[in-house]
Symmetry: C2
Subunit: 382 residues, 2 copies
C-alpha cells in the first residue's frame, strides 16, 4: 500500500515509517521539523540527538534496503500539500502532523495560537487534499483519549447511544478535554466527522493514550534509529519522564493527589495499531473510532512501579507530590472501552518489570546527557 506519513520525523512518525516499510508497504514521510524547533525554542531538547530526516532515511536504507522519499515543508501551506499529494499518490495517510503537547499549548498566547492554527489548518488541508487528489484514500488520524476527559460514566469507543424522554439517538461520544492541545483534537474530530458525512471520505480516528518506550522491532540496538526521547514536562510523556527522573536522582513529580488515571501503551503497540487500521481500512463514509491503549494506571501507580524497578537496579528513587499546575480531576471514575483494536488483531505489550528495566538501563547509558533544569518547567494552566 502507498502510505503517506505526515509528521514523519516525530516520536511516533519515524518509527511508524520504518515499521510500515518493514511490513512491505511503500512509505513517504512529510515533516517541517516543527517539533524540533519548538523543543529548541523552549530549551527542552531530547535526551540524545537524532539525525535529520534525510539522514535517518539514508541510515534505514543502509540497514534494511527500504527507500523512503522525504518531503520537507509545511502542511499548512496548500501549495506544498498539493505538491506532496500530486507527487506521491497515497492510498492511505497517517496524520501525526500536529503540535502534540498539552503543556506547550498552555504556555502563552502565541503557543496557544500556533497549536490551534497549525492543527486545524493541517487537518483541513489533509481533508481537502484527499477530496481533490485521492478521494478513495483512507485517513488514519491520531486523536487522543484526552478528548473524552474524565466523565463520570463509562467511556465508549467513539460513540454513545443516548436515551432521552423516550427517544434514542446515537451521538459522537461527548468530548470535554483538559488542555487547549486536547481541545484542538476535539475540533479535528468535529471537522473530520463533518466531511465524512458530507463527502463520504474514509477516516479512522485513533484515540490514543500516553505512549512510552523507545525500542521497536526496527530500531533494534541501533540508537541512531531511535525516536526522539523527551524527558521534560512539556514534550515528554509521563512514563518516559519518570524513567529519566529516576536515573537523574530527581524525585518523580506527581501532580496533586496522583489519582489521575489514563490508558497507556507501548510504542510498539502504537505501530501495530496504526498498521492494523491501515490494512483493514474504514469504509467510504465511515468515521471509525478506536480507543488506543492497552492498560490503565494512576500516576501514583506508575510512580510506584518506576520506584520499585529503579530501586532493584540500585537507584534511589524518590516520589514527590507537587502542586498540580493543571486544572484536572485528581481522583475520578475512569472506565474506557478498548476492544476495537484487539478485534483487528492487536497483541498488546503490557508494562512489565523487564520492559521498564530495559528503559532504565538504556537511559542510564545516556545519564551524562540529562540536564536537570530541563525536567520540570512549571507550565501553569491558569
Amino acid at each position: 500500500m502507498h502510505i503517506l506519513i505526515l509528521g514523519g520525523d516525530g516520536y511516533l512518525g519515524w518509527p511508524t515509517a520504518m515499521h510500515l516499510t518493514a511490513k512491505g508497504h511503500h512509505v513517504a514521510v512529510v515533516d517541517n521539523y516543527l517539533r524540533r524547533r519548538l523543543c529548541r525554542e523552549e530549551n527542552v531538547e531530547p535526551l540524545f540527538d537524532v539525525p535529520n530526516l534525510h539522514e535517518r532515511v539514508g541510515l534505514w536504507e543502509s540497514v534494511s534496503g527500504y527507500k523512503i522519499p522525504v518531503f520537507i515543508g509545511d502542511l499548512a501551506d496548500w501549495e506544498f500539500v498539493k505538491e506532496v499529494f500530486q507527487t506521491f499518490t497515497p492510498e492511505a495517510i497517517v496524520h501525526y502532523a500536529e503540535q502534540p503537547s498539552a503543556p506547550y499549548s498552555m504556555l502563552n498566547r502565541r503557543a496557544a495560537m500556533l497549536s490551534l492554527q497549525n492543527n486545524l489548518t493541517v487537518t483541513a488541508n489533509v481533508i481537502f487534499a484527499v477530496r481533490e487528489f485521492s478521494p478513495d484514500a483512507h485517513i488514519v488520524k491520531l486523536g487522543t483519549m484526552g478528548e473524552y476527559g474524565t466523565p463520570n460514566i463509562d467511556i465508549e469507543e467513539g460513540w454513545l447511544e443516548v436515551e432521552h424522554n423516550g427517544r434514542r439517538h446515537k451521538f459522537l461520544y461527548p468530548r470535554q478535554a483538559s488542555s487547549l492541545y486536547h481541545t484542538t483534537k476535539i475540533m479535528d474530530t468535529d471537522l473530520l466527522w463533518f466531511y465524512v458525512r458530507t463527502w463520504d471520505i474514509r477516516v479512522t480516528d485513533l484515540m490514543q493514550g500516553p505512549v512510552y518506550g523507545l525500542f521497536t522491532d526496527e530500531t533494534a540496538d541501533d540508537e541512531r534509529l531511535f525516536p526522539f526521547f523527551n524527558y521534560d514536562e512539556i514534550f515528554g510523556t509521563v512514563l518516559n519522564r519518570f524513567v529519566v527522573q529516576s536515573v537523574a536522582g530527581y524525585p518523580l513529580t506527581v501532580y496533586g493527589k496522583g489519582g489521575q488515571t489514563r490508558g497507556y501503551l507501548n510504542i510498539k503497540d502504537t505501530l501495530n495499531c496504526v498498521r492494523l487500521s491501515l490494512e483493514q481500512p474504514a469504509k467510504a463514509g465511515e468515521l471509525r473510532i478506536f480507543n488506543q491503549f492497552v492498560e490503565t494506571f494512576t500516576v501514583n501507580e506508575l510512580a510506584e512501579l518506576v520506584q520499585r524497578v529503579g530501586n532493584q537496579l540500585g537507584l534511589n528513587v524518590q516520589i514527590r507530590s507537587v502542586e498540580n499546575p493543571r486544572k484536572e480531576a485528581e481522583d475520578h471514575y475512569y472506565n474506557p472501552a478498548h476492544t476495537g483494536l484487539l478485534e483487528l488483531g492487536l497483541k498488546p505489550h503490557f508494562l512489565t518489570d523487564e520492559i521498564l528495566a530495559q528503559m532504565l538501563e538504556t537511559v542510564l547509558r545516556h545519564k551524562a546527557n540529562i540536564q536537570e533544569h530541563k525536567i520540570y518547567r512549571k507550565v501553569k494552566w491558569s
Copy 2:
C-alpha cells in the same frame, strides 16, 4: 455598561449597536468589512446600499444624539485586538465577528479555509484579550441552533444529562452540524467551554435560529439606518429570501421535500435577547447557553405563508421544489427547548401576516433593485 460589538457592521451588529445605545449603554463597534467584501466577490450584494460604518454612526448620532466609536480592522490580527481592548475597556463583548454563511463555507476550498481560520482565530483572540485586558468582562457569543443539527431526541438548552450503565454525567449537548460554517461554531463552543473551565471567564452562548426582518425600533422609517438585506442563497436567510423572490415573481425555492424544521426569530427579538443577556450576565466560570428563537416552521410552512400573504397583496407567488443542494435531513424530529430567554424577560414577536406584509411592502419599494441572477447560486454540498 461599556459594550464592544465585534462585527458591528453586520446584519445584526449594526442594529444591535443602535439598540444598545438607545437603551443607555456605551457602545463601540469593530468591523473589517469582511461581509461586504465577500458579497462583492461573489456578486451577491444586498437589496440596497448601506452607508459605511463611519457614515452610519454619524447618521445615528444626528438622529439620536448617541456617539459610537468605530474601530476598523481585522480581529484576527492581535495587534489590532490589543489596540481595541486597550482603548475601549469593555465590560461586555458581543461577538458577531464571523463569516456567517453556511453556503459560503461550502463554496470551495479557499472559502472553507477562510471560514475556519477567521472564525476560530477571532474567537481565540477575543478569549485571550478578555483574559489579558478585561478578565471580568462578559462575552456574549452568537452561536447557532445549527450546531445541534437534527437529532432524533429533544434538543435541550445547551446541556444534556446522560444516564449510562447506571451512572450519570452532564455533558455539553452533543453537536453535529450540517455545514462547515456551523461546524466552526461547534469548534467555537469547544474553545469557549475549555477556557470557561480553565480561566473562569464568563460567557453566554446564544444558539440562534434563522433571523428575519429589517425593522427595529431604532431604524424606524429611516432606511439609511437599515441593516444589510441579502436576498441571495449565500448570505440571505430563508424568509428574507422568500420575500424578495415573491416580489420578483421568482418561484420560492424549496430544497427537496421542504420538511426541514428550524426555530426562527424576528430581528427585534435578536436585539432583545442580546440585551437581556448583557444586562443579566453569566457568572465567572459559567458557560450559559440559551436557545434563541421563538417559534418553529418547516420550509414548506414558510413558503406557504409567504405565498398566502403575497397573493393577498396582489402578487402571484409560486412555490417550486428543487433538488436539495445540501446534505441534510428533509423530514425529521425537531423539538428544541427555548425557555431561558423567556425567563430573562423576552417578549417574543411572532411572525404575523402583518409583519410579513410590511416586509413585502418594503421590498416592493425596492423592486427595481432586485437582480434575479443573484437569487439562486446552486452552491452544492458535494
